[in-house]
Symmetry: C2
Subunit: 334 residues, 2 copies
DNA sequence: ATCGTGCCCGCAAACGTTTGCGGGTAAAAT
DNA sequence: ATTTTACCCGCAAACGTTTGCGGGCACGAT
């Protein structure tokens, strides 16, 4: 009933532990016949190397940590899937935690991963994270870290994200050209770089288009409920022939819900564009025009970069800053 | 730059490693003043216990493994979120893998978790898993295991799931009472217990209702594309005043797509009911009638049971079989 | 007969903890 | 002054591996 260990095998075969270890690892010093013996007994006993012991000895591990705000968000679930995929291919395991958009929990999780001596960590930061000292502390201790999507721009680490500013610039340009009289932005929390950049892209596009009104921004969270509530604030300003550019799909979906309740026609009276291309955007009526954001691909790239940095011990790593292409998907809502 | 270890602290303070260890663990044998010294130096040096070493020594770990078919499926993402939540509260970390509905990969992942000496594993089995020897092997080695949703009924382990048969029975009864002339079941792969049970519930409800036709089952996968394709097969049999009971929401959504393309009115000409209450069901038009399945709750319960079994070393564990309540959500589609 | 040369293998230390046991020192009891 | 007692601390082994080093043996070369 006991676990099969190298020691067991060794004493059974009247060999030393070292010899058994070497035999199992196919070391040239060991006689072919000995290897055969060891291997056959090992399989017979169902021997599995104890990775814990191996990691302790080598003070390395093949685990990567992932901290995301909320697993159940479609975007993160897809990114996570991409990460797992790459990790699996390269022989790494993934240890997972969610911050629930809470900075303290993010920090606790990060520390826990450090305790577990993960080889590296992939992070998408929480909405409530305003300073980055907890990241810096770990990086200083030599933990490899890669940020994706919600990146942290004031730490020295690789990042994988989209060009939020350019993407939202394109959206707004598209809306202007479509002839909407006024374009309103439902923005997210401005401490998140992605939200800030989307807002900047919105403003820049308006200026470059030479519109005669000043930008109209309603700021709030990134949930459906926020979009739902924003519509009412917007109504007060008059909505005739306006278009909404929402910071993400849930906000857009919430807005659609409220607009439909109010009997406002989309896209005739109000146009609307989301961000992320969640599967839901294709299913609602009207189908939502949105920006395709390669979640799975993003996860894959983040994992590839991290593993690359882990395995290139020798060379000095210069953080890479990957920008992935987005794609405006025009559907019915604008 | 070196990691702070117990040994470091010990030599710095001219103490033995044992004393430092005991001091950090607040052992009564150690003088208060000594503890103070040790603790202050520890915090100063940023000492973090090496969990790897601790696990090796105690041959325990506070990690639980999770293997699900596909992370990106809403149901699993939510369940995972529930698991992570409980794990976090109880001080466990989650190591995650997906099988991609592939039995071999499921097995590889399971073994990898065993190598990492996880304290227990939570599994929802893949579509292509037809035998359970790989589960049994690990359980025989003493690995605690809990199945959820897609459970494995021929192994001796705890399970958390819904009463699929009863739930689908209720759905079909509802449809019969609504007056639909014929009710057709879009079934899933029959090697999955959940699919088999949903089909059984469908058949039993028809019999108990005394309908005059024999059950009509179209079997296939569990993806949107399957539902889409099934509609065409169904059309050949005549669809007038039929209702579709789909094995899950994606299949139902696929069917809706195809029905709309064909200009068939829902629910006037064809009614349709899904299963799971994915968020998407509320957003599409017509809104989908479906069965609410408590994904997050299911993950939580699974994690609770697993951790309970892990921590009750002494008592002999008798596998529990938890059935969670479902809820028929009536919307527009039937 | 001696030396060198491969070929196999074992010794022992190490990774960072934890822990049973035993030992030392001081103050308190005899 | 001696024994007890309580209080503090260290020794060493252990968890399961890996690995540098050294050593024994048989063989062919000298």
């Amino acid at each position: 009933m006991k676990q099969a260990t190298i020691k067991n095998i060794a004493s059974e075969l009247k060999l030393s532990a070292s010899t058994v270890s070497r035999a199992l690892n196919n070391h040239p010093d060991i006689h072919k016949e000995t290897k055969r013996l060891v291997n056959s007994l090992a399989t017979e006993l169902g021997y599995r190397p104890n990775i814990i012991a191996r990691n302790l000895k080598s003070s390395k591990s093949k685990q990567i940590g992932v901290v995301v705000p909320e697993i159940r968000h479609d975007f993160f679930a897809n990114a996570l899937s991409g990460i797992e995929e790459v990790a699996y291919q390269k022989g790494y395991t993934v240890i997972l935690a969610q911050s629930n958009e809470d900075k303290d929990r993010e920090e606790v999780n990060l520390n826990s991963m450090y305790l577990h001596r993960v080889a590296g960590i992939i992070v998408s930061i929480s909405q409530t994270t305003s300073d980055s000292s907890h990241f810096k502390r770990l990086i200083d201790k030599g933990v490899k870290m890669v940020f994706f999507d919600r990146v942290c721009d004031d730490v020295n680490a690789s990042t994988v994200h989209i060009d939020d500013m350019q993407s939202s610039y394109d959206v707004v340009k598209y809306l202007v050209n479509k002839g909407y009289k006024k374009i309103i932005h439902f923005a997210g929390p401005q401490n998140l770089a992605i939200c800030k950049n989307r807002k900047l892209g919105y403003e820049k596009a308006l200026i470059d288009s030479g519109v005669l009104y000043s930008p109209v921004v309603i700021e709030g969270g990134m949930h459906e409920s926020n979009g739902y509530a924003h519509v009412d604030k917007m109504i007060e300003m008059g909505i005739d022939n306006c278009a909404i550019f929402a910071v993400n799909d849930p906000v857009a979906v919430g807005a659609v819900k409220r607009l439909k309740e109010l009997g406002i026609k989309i896209p005739q009276q109000v146009g609307i564009v989301g961000f992320s291309n969640n599967p839901i955007t294709e299913m609602i009526s009207p189908q939502l025009t949105t920006v395709e954001q390669p979640a799975f691909e993003m996860g894959k790239r983040a994992a590839e970069i991290l593993i690359h940095e882990i395995e290139d011990e020798n060379t000095v790593i210069i953080p890479s800053d990957i920008k992935l292409e987005t794609n405006l998907i025009v559907r019915e809502s604008a």
